[in-house]
């Protein structure tokens, strides 16, 4: 991965439909998930996705720390997304900034909509996402890691929450942007899908797309999420049933 000067825009899409790293428009970067990477946390996961490396830890349900945040009829979901100072080429100034606050908020809200929060009134479910190495799509990698960590923590929820970004690069709608595509592309559209219901619980967009491109992008993203979903399930099965267990529906059939 060579460094790219700000002036010379790299060739993001070749004539035979190959991207900067040789992928087709609908191909994901290699994804590897490890469920249960930390011992201290109630649940955890480590995700390597392309050049991204993201660790997620889940604590809870547990006592709410500033008491006034406590809700009498449900658990609150708190998320802290953070990028390590060394996660990018130029040192990232540590600590909260507007970007990480926004990402923490949208991720917490996405999970609040899939977790059965009424089960644990007056408690807090805390999600910590640490980006160790960043290469575009870290909020999606964070959602994937956090979701596996939540399942590992035994938190009841509607479904796992796969996430991916779709973008527009050199006029083409492509799946799972990497850094150069994100920097020099025309649009970025991260999303998180609830496979069980088909609902999107996180959807943001930066840049411009036509209506047709948007609908194409959504289809592409949902397809990508379903692939990521399989890898998330594989990671959890590997941790809890090393011998490879048949799924419930297969056994019933």
């Amino acid at each position: 991965m060579g460094s790219v000067g700000a002036k010379d825009v790299p060739v993001l899409m070749t004539e035979d439909g190959r991207r900067i790293d040789g992928r087709r428009a609908d191909e994901l970067r290699p994804l590897r998930i490890q469920a249960g990477a930390l011992r201290q946390a109630d649940g955890s996961a480590f995700v390597e996705w392309g050049a991204n490396k993201v660790m997620a830890a889940v604590y809870g349900p547990r006592e709410v720390h500033p008491r006034h945040l406590q809700e009498n009829n449900k658990a609150i979901v708190q998320c802290k997304y953070n990028m390590a100072a060394f996660s990018v080429d130029e040192r990232k100034r540590p600590g909260l900034d507007r970007r990480s606050q926004e990402i923490s908020k949208v991720i917490a809200e996405a999970f609040e909509s899939v977790i059965f929060v009424e089960e644990y009134p007056r408690t807090s479910i805390d999600i910590y996402i640490e980006v160790l190495q960043a290469n575009a799509g870290t909020r999606c990698a964070g959602v994937v890691a956090a979701s596996v960590a939540l399942a590992d923590a035994g938190i009841p929820m509607v479904d796992l929450l796969p996430a991916v970004a779709v973008g527009k690069v050199a006029g083409h709608v492509v799946l799972d942007l990497k850094k150069e595509e994100d920097n020099f592309g025309e649009a970025d559209l991260p999303m998180a899908l609830v496979p069980q219901s088909g609902r999107l619980v996180l959807l943001q967009m930066e840049g411009h797309m036509t209506r047709t491109e948007l609908s194409k992008a959504l289809d592409l993203g949902v397809g990508g999420c379903r692939k990521i979903y399989e890898e998330m399930k594989r990671a959890l099965r590997e941790r809890y049933a090393p011998t490879g267990t048949a799924s419930a529906m297969e056994v019933a059939a």
Binding site: R39, G43, S113, E119, R122, P156, V194, K233, Y240, A241
Partner: protein
């Protein structure tokens, strides 16, 4: 955003229980996976949307008509009445203490639930923040408040010793069939051990014995699903070696232990496979009977 919640979700019960479906093999299910449930009611760990039943937690499928449920394999300790638990004082108030028992909420221990005669404001003189106690769970109120008491046999303040925390789901294996596992460990190390149903284990022993106990508990936690565990632990305690282990010595958190391929042979004392202790055979520590689901 929240309107999509399927309404029929039931709480998970039987906290930490590890028993699979009575009838068949163990089936692992993940949140969002559909479970076969024609004509069945969604029990704990499941929810129903338009006639189909899905798992809501990661766990083992349990098919007991008319209910289908998922028994969680991980997660925090879910308190049950009559459990004996080991807790740590996290806050002292005028008439009660708050205990961290590893549950979603702190449990208040009122001064009337102790053997001491305390005047208002004297609580601090009996238990301070950081002290460890063994308490019994009395009741879970519908507000979610966990009532605990220190009145009862084997309950009280713990002096000295060390605390070891494992997954609450593995506690039945630590106790063993009829208490066999815990007796084996106690016999070989001379340690005083208090096992809380919440996964917290208090151990009072000489330092080198404490390390051995700690190692046993770690092996039990990691190898808990294998059979013949009591014999393996016994072999370790006799020889001081973990069979098939390439590690230098006992110690916690030093990475996964290679699986035991060889059964350590102990003289005599052939114990039947201690897969899962029967509920009524567990020493002390209240009942492990599954809460009947409605």
């Amino acid at each position: 955003m929240r309107d999509g919640h399927p309404p029929r979700h039931r709480g998970r019960g039987g906290g930490g229980r590890n028993r699979p479906a009575a009838s068949s093999e163990r089936i692992l299910v993940l949140p969002g996976e559909e479970v076969p449930g024609r004509g069945l009611k969604p029990g704990p760990g499941t929810y129903r949307v338009s006639g189909r039943i899905y798992a809501s937690v990661l766990g083992l499928l349990s098919h007991k008509p008319p209910v289908v449920r998922v028994v969680p394999l991980s997660g925090r300790y879910i308190p049950k009445a009559h459990d004996t638990v080991v807790g740590t004082v996290t806050d002292v108030q005028g008439t009660f203490w708050l205990l961290d028992i590893g549950a979603p909420r702190w449990a208040p221990l009122h001064m009337t639930g102790t053997p001491w005669k305390i005047d208002f404001g004297e609580t601090q003189q009996y238990l301070k923040v950081g002290d460890s106690v063994v308490v019994g769970v009395e009741a879970i109120e519908n507000t979610g408040r966990i009532g605990v008491t220190m009145l009862g046999e084997g309950l009280g303040k713990l002096e000295g010793g060390a605390m070891i925390t494992i997954s609450p789901a593995k506690i039945p294996r630590v106790i063993g069939r009829g208490g066999s596992m815990i007796q084996t460990i106690t016999r070989h190390t001379g340690a005083r051990i208090v096992v809380g149903q919440n996964g917290r284990i208090w151990v009072d022993a000489a330092p080198e014995q404490l390390l051995r106990v700690r190692e046993c508990l770690r092996v039990i936690e990691e190898e808990g699903h294998r059979s013949g565990l009591t014999e393996r632990i016994e072999g370790f305690l006799r020889s001081g070696e973990l069979p098939e282990s390439d590690r230098d010595g006992p110690g916690p958190d030093v990475g996964p232990v290679p699986p035991f391929d060889r059964e350590p042979v102990g003289p005599g004392d052939v114990e039947p496979d201690d897969d899962e202790p029967d509920d009524d055979e567990i020493a002390g520590s209240g009942t492990m009977e599954p809460t009947p689901d409605e």
